[in-house]
Symmetry: C2
Subunit: 316 residues, 2 copies
């Protein structure tokens, strides 16, 4: 199994009743500052505040009835968890969510709201996976992986489908990369529909596993992950890297200072709430790391879940 | 001269190339909490971050060429100023903006960006008007009043036109009231198109001149205005009160604490940046002051210009 345009189109037909067709916003101020025409696909305005609603909903509704009846489970730093909990509720099946104990309160509330069962674990990849495996063994639930699952990737790719339908003739599409689910779906959709459009991924410098894996040709995790962009701390999946190497033109990295400055500028200029991970692609534009002058640039604002009591520009 | 649906439709045709057709957002979380279906017309995502772009653009482009050539001027606490500066720049004419010296920095920058001439004055209604009158006398510029001008009101009414076109069968439309420009346009549009839809205005308790004027039948200013909603501190205009008394069903008031709580909840649930004035109608829903259960409710989010260094929930 892999990922192609047909799967992304089928996902779109499947999830359309359950997701927001998010608006594409522009800003005269940001266009003037960058010399480009920037089109922001606002997945922060998606249900649960992130594109993750697309992939999880597709994966849940793609399950055959007998499998669905045993429920779903996942491990996630937050947005995929809320997305899966919501999708399970919409389908009327059980969801169990394994979350690291240090997950921000706002993200825990976003899961509880949908009636999912929450199991806390130590904040390590190993603890998450072991806890998940135990739940699968006990309940027969289907593990819906946040980014290596092809139905999830197909769902994430539907944001790019809508962006290309709403904004003609993009020269460039920018996308953040963490595990690589959104990037896989985006790149496959864009290259199938408009091969001449460049797809560039952006990653925090403090979690640059995708950039180094992209160049090395194999997954190379980062020893010490350190970035404010909590949605992008994950190591890219093998399945995702294979797709990314085939369909993505380049991966660039940005510092946390650039991410915070970009986040704040998006709040001021677009008047939307963007989380640090969502501001990462614009950070690369703002820092001059990607040539955009005179270009039409699609930018995926991936999410908007932040703790309003701990904004990075607040005085401590 | 007065205001009718034909004028609002003509305004929409005139300004369409220069404004954003803003999205209408909804939130499963806010619907569940209120028991209603809430539809937020996001004028905070309008150019210059407020509905004021509509009215100012209509007024500027409605001027005959010989009048336009002498320029425009206004006094404003911010959003109308930025809107007029932008509209004048789009038409290629001069704009002079009289602003109180205590205007927040973010609003001053929003005017400077469009190349308007800024004249600071004392923060009193009298100083603003006198300064404006002097500029009109010196330059022949046309004063574009922020809310008593009928072309401005017609432009503001176009947001409601779009809302009714995008969301069928609203039972209720909620709108903030300060000077009454947005409310006049909104009420005239809604009652002309759907007379059975109720229009309710919401006002800060600390600036409840419109509520008391509505009941008294004449303009009754408040002696000591005290509210965080800086866009709604103005006294309602006579022209506006006449329209409001004819077309608005009721005016309710909310406390500043309710406004801040509503603002924060909108940021979290809708993931958009709303200024205190823009959160005022939802504050009335959230506080249970307007019966909305089982109803379809349109809410105009009027603006999103806030100082991100001085959010009301930040520790001092």
């Amino acid at each position: 199994m892999s990922l192609d345009l047909a799967a992304i189109r089928a996902a779109h037909d499947r999830i359309r009743p359950y997701i927001v067709r998010t608006p594409v916003l522009a800003s005269e101020r940001l266009d003037a500052a960058s010399g480009a025409a920037l089109f922001f696909k606002c997945e922060n305005l998606q249900h649960i505040g992130a594109f993750k609603a697309r992939g999880a909903t597709n994966a849940v509704f793609a399950l055959p009835p007998d499998e669905a009846a045993r429920g779903v489970c996942t491990h996630s730093s937050g947005n995929h968890a809320a997305a899966l909990a919501r999708a399970a509720k919409l389908r009327g099946i059980a969801a169990t969510i394994v979350m690291p104990a240090n997950t921000p309160a706002v993200k825990v509330r976003n899961v509880e709201r949908f009636g999912a069962r929450i199991v806390l674990c130590a904040p390590t990849a190993r603890a998450r996976e072991e806890t998940c495996a135990r739940i699968v063994a006990e309940t027969g639930a289907r593990l819906i992986h946040p980014f290596t699952n092809y139905d999830v990737m197909a769902g994430q790719g539907t944001a790019a489908l809508e962006l290309l339908a709403d904004v003609p003739a993009l020269d460039l599409v920018l996308c953040p990369v963490g595990g690589g689910g959104l990037l896989s779906g985006t790149a496959v959709a864009v290259k199938a529909l408009q091969p001449q459009t460049r797809v560039i991924a952006v990653e925090p410098a403090g979690a640059a596993d995708a950039a180094q894996s992209f160049r090395a040709g194999e997954v190379r995790p980062v020893a010490q992950v350190d970035t404010i962009a909590d949605g992008l701390r994950t190591t890219i999946g093998e399945e995702n890297l294979a797709l990314v190497r085939r369909h993505v033109d380049d991966i660039v990295t940005v510092s946390d200072a650039e991410i915070v400055a970009a986040m704040r500028e998006l709040w001021e200029a677009l008047r939307v709430v963007v989380e640090p991970s969502g501001a990462v692609p614009f950070a690369a534009v703002r820092a001059g790391l990607i040539p955009v002058q005179q270009r039409r640039v699609g930018i995926i604002l991936s999410g908007g879940n932040v703790d309003l009591d701990a904004l990075p520009w607040m005085r401590k």
